[in-house]
Symmetry: C2
Subunit: 207 residues, 2 copies
């Protein structure tokens, strides 16, 4: 899926199959953008007409590009994963490795918050498109591994853990239903986890 022409998903589609007419590509991008924000704020059952409206295109255009709601959901989902993974590299480049890891986990939590709503819709997708999940979950854990290994390597977190441990530790996030306090609690969990990871590290960033 074109990991990066100019960062993420928007332009990628151009190179992908048929060279789509420029207006078509522009509209498609707008739709994805609009869909991401509308899904985020109204949930997965948001009105497709609102998405079209917000993208400034007709409803017909939306349907031409995305014949079903699920198609649109999938694209948005993939885009989010893409962004999350790209963030790993950027954070690693810009921050001390433990901070990068912490920040990335924070974003992961937000991402899960989105996906939570998508769950039902994804369930449907998974029956049709089974590559989707293995595909993306592989990418996510790879991104996490990169961060964890870097932090272990330079001693900002303890050495006796690996990426799958951390992923497991984050797993607890799923359990909480959609209570309003869910987000806060998850953040606390991330902080707690980071404290644990930093404890007993070879050295700390700012002694």
């Amino acid at each position: 899926m074109a990991v990066e022409p100019s960062t993420i998903a928007e332009t990628k589609t151009a190179a992908e199959e048929k060279p789509l007419r420029v207006d078509a590509q522009r509209n498609r991008d707008r739709l994805v953008e609009a869909a991401a924000s509308v899904f985020a704020e109204r949930g997965i059952d948001a009105s497709l007409e609102e998405i079209a409206r917000r993208a400034g295109v007709g409803i017909g255009t939306l349907y031409r590009h995305f014949p079903t709601r699920e198609h649109l959901v999938e694209v948005v989902y993939r885009r989010e994963v893409e962004g999350l993974c790209a963030a790993a590299g950027e954070l690693a480049a810009r921050h001390p490795s433990d901070v990068a890891l912490e920040e990335w986990m924070r974003r992961f939590v937000d991402y899960i918050a989105t996906k939570r709503g998508l769950a039902t819709s994804l369930r449907i997708l998974l029956t049709t498109n089974s590559t989707l999940f293995s595909d993306t979950s592989g990418r996510v854990s790879q991104a996490l591994r990169q961060l964890v290994e870097a932090a272990v390597a330079d001693g900002t977190i303890r050495g006796d853990v690996d990426a799958s441990d951390v992923l497991h530790a984050l797993g607890g996030i799923y359990s909480a239903p959609d209570t309003p306090e869910w987000r806060d609690r998850s953040r606390r969990l991330v902080k707690l986890l980071m404290d644990g990871l930093r404890f007993g590290a070879g050295k700390s960033v700012k002694a």
Copy 2:
């Protein structure tokens, strides 16, 4: 479907919880009746408004009785199972036991044909209402057992099989997707199965 007027599901609801006003009960019955026939001919996604129309009631009435499509589906489904099980007893009383068994299996096939379409909707139901399945499948296998045991007992079918064998043999029906010839093939399967069951029976009904 209505296996016959005053045996089954229609009237039962009255006694079940609150003694529903007579007009309400009448409308409810009409709705179930209409739903059964509309679902049968248009599939599970049939318009609820058409059901209301066919029942001769307003759409509001439909929604008052059945707040969601799934509620309505469940009632229809249960009613069908009820009919199928009741048929076992009646067939046993009116026909030689092997003929009763054969006829019942034929009806079972038709029932599955209906359920096929319902599958998706039922999947949703099952997450909510998990008694439904165990409940009904128990009933069905009990009905089958009754027929098989009777036929074994009077020697019209071979003695080395039991109800679960037969149910298993019928299981193959599920495998076929929704080809148009599906129904015919299933009938042939039933016939074949019956021949196998009669073969080597202690005696046959009409020597």
